[in-house]
């Protein structure tokens, strides 16, 4: 039997996840020149993953990449299947019986833990929960954040930490015209947080902030940024790192920090303070978070391989809220190998396991690094591997999404891209009424109700389109 990819035996690929990794993989498959059918399976009724639920509401331009995803979804060889969880509603084995290949682009949804006692004390949260909450993610919309205290601590120094600091310190009126969730806006409007501390175990030259995002913190109305000039005195190995011309992002970050440390402090209503060379070693409080204990570090090692070693010097920081943002890990799916240490599906250039058929792209492939566009190059590379394996795949023709709906049965309604468009239109309508670009639906039940109602109100031909095959 000939390899799949022809008109009589189209290459059927199931993509698990509908964030950037999934959509860029779909785009690459659809551009391959072969006859392909891509079925994208998403556990929520709405697509776009971290573009919808991760990108900050005050960064609307970045979200314009959904226009590219919309174009991908226009293809008659693409089908979106929302509201279906792989590993629960359908097994990986079942997916392999309906598709020639399964490509996982399901991201890294869980936070790494600090591994300290009291990590779950009220007031101690993950950045994931907070970001998901203000972005209206159904899993996090009912989380409670007590913002009655003045001091918040963020552990970790990447772009997520910056997003959290900015949302906490930005004047709430500047957020009212964004697509931030209404429930978050209400809580942030009453927030008494006025001091945010960002804690990093290594130095300013190793912080992984993007220069542009870091600089933005200095441009917030009514907020000053503080960094100790002592922390900016770099050792010889750090200076060597900065001399590397490819390390220009760190050079720009250092310029930004130096600018802040020498600027005469303008007293402002809110304050963001950077702390370097500090590791949290204890979380303290009786019924809720009261303070954290930090240990001072020094760096040892070669350029670009320096690690933090404790000096034994400790200090305390009183705080009411803490968010940890020290990395992310994927969620295991039964039937797929999992590297628990790295929180990824172990793979060789995107190929999972030894026999062809399972693939990974995006954060579940390489871990949580890079930005939206990084996942495009990454997904394209995985698809190239998949296409190179074509002759080794089990070539028997597969039934694809139609077989999936039989397996799922009537109790698991699949949400199509046409259904999503109706949710999208409703969100845009609600947003316009509130003076926002979008008001997200934040409950799965509300999304599914809307889908059901709009299907009933449509003409018969459109109902057929929304629940039948998209081709």
């Amino acid at each position: 039997m000939s390899a799949p990819g022809s008109a009589d035996n189209p290459l059927r690929v199931a993509i698990v996840g509908s964030g950037p990794g999934g959509f860029y993989a779909a785009e690459a498959l659809l551009k391959s020149g072969l006859t392909v059918q891509v079925d994208m399976i998403e556990r929520l009724p709405v697509p776009f993953g971290l573009v919808r639920f991760g990108v900050a509401p005050d960064h609307p331009k970045l979200k314009q990449c959904t226009a590219v995803f919309d174009q991908v979804a226009q293809s008659s060889h693409f089908r979106f299947i929302g509201n279906v969880t792989v590993g629960r509603d359908i097994s990986v084995e079942q997916l392999q019986s309906t598709h020639h290949a399964v490509l996982f682009a399901c991201g890294a949804e869980l936070d790494r833990r600090l591994g300290l006692a009291n990590e779950d004390l009220p007031g101690s949260h993950t950045a994931t929960e907070f970001v998901g909450w203000y972005n209206g993610h159904p899993d996090y919309r009912d989380r409670q954040f007590d913002m009655s205290g003045e001091t918040a601590v963020i552990v970790g120094q990447g772009n997520v930490a910056i997003d959290v600091a900015r949302i906490l310190c930005k004047p709430v009126d500047d957020l009212r015209t964004t697509d931030i969730a209404a429930h978050a806006l209400e809580v942030l409007a009453a927030s008494r947080v006025r001091e945010v501390h960002l804690i990093g175990r290594r130095g300013p030259a190793q912080a992984s902030f993007t220069a542009k995002e870091l600089r933005e913190l200095g441009e917030l109305n009514g907020c000053e940024v503080r960094v100790s000039s002592d922390d900016l005195q770099l050792g010889p190995v750090c200076l060597q790192e900065l001399e590397n011309k490819g390390n220009f992002n760190a050079v720009k970050n250092m310029e930004t920090f130096r600018g802040w440390s020498t600027r005469s402090a303008q007293p402002a209503a809110k304050r963001i303070c950077f702390h370097f060379f500090q590791s949290p070693v204890a979380i303290a409080g009786t019924s809720r978070l009261e303070r954290i204990e930090l240990e001072r570090n020094t760096l040892t090692g070669l350029p670009f391989g320096q690690s933090a070693q404790s000096t034994g010097l400790t200090s305390e920081l009183a705080c009411n809220l803490m968010f940890r943002s020290i990395g992310y890990r994927g969620v295991p799916i039964p039937g797929v190998p999992f590297d628990a240490a790295r929180g990824i599906f172990p793979n060789m250039a995107g190929r999972i396991g030894t026999s062809p058929g399972l693939y990974a792209a995006g954060w579940i492939k390489r871990g949580p690094s890079g930005i939206i566009g990084t996942n495009r190059a990454d997904a394209v590379a995985t698809v190239q591997g998949l296409l190179a394996d074509l002759t080794e795949l089990d070539a028997r023709p597969r039934a694809g999404a139609d077989a999936l709906s039989e397996i799922l049965g009537p109790h698991r309604p699949m949400v199509s891209y046409a259904d999503w468009r109706r949710i999208d239109q409703e969100e845009l309508r609600l947003g316009a009424a509130a003076g926002k670009p979008r008001e997200k639906l934040t409950r799965v039940s509300d999304m599914l109700d809307l889908v059901k109602r709009s299907r009933h109100s449509m003409q018969p031909i459109n109902i057929a389109q929304s629940i039948g095959s998209s081709s």
């Binding site: 970045l62 990449c65 590219v68 220069a211 011309k245 490819g246 990084t374 190059a377």
Partner: protein, 102 residues
């Protein structure tokens, strides 16, 4: 603020940047690439991808490269989109060394 490809791309044209662009806003002629600043979403992924740091955000643009803002805006829309990695120019490695990037 838009991102801009400067003349450091000339004689290189590595095209690593285009593979990371989430909205395929790179256009190119035989000498270099240009960014369509209407399409660009300002994510900055390309800045990190370029082996010779030929791409800058507008506010980071060195004083002697300001003209490239205008040139990108004018040239990009009329040229074909480049969204897949291409073979760099034969002079690319030598040019990279000349620019001081190892």
């Amino acid at each position: 603020m838009p991102h801009i490809v400067t003349d450091k791309c000339q004689r290189c044209r590595f095209t690593d940047c285009v593979t990371t662009c989430p909205v395929a806003c790179f256009h190119g002629d035989a000498t270099m690439l240009y960014i369509d600043n209407v399409q660009c979403v300002d994510c900055g992924a390309c800045v990190q991808a370029c082996p010779v740091h030929a791409i800058y955000e507008e506010s980071d643009l060195p004083a002697d490269k300001i003209e490239w803002l205008q040139i990108n805006a004018q040239r990009a829309p009329g040229l074909p989109v480049i969204s897949e990695k291409q073979v760099p120019l034969p002079t690319a490695e030598a040019r990279k060394r000349e620019l001081g990037y190892e």
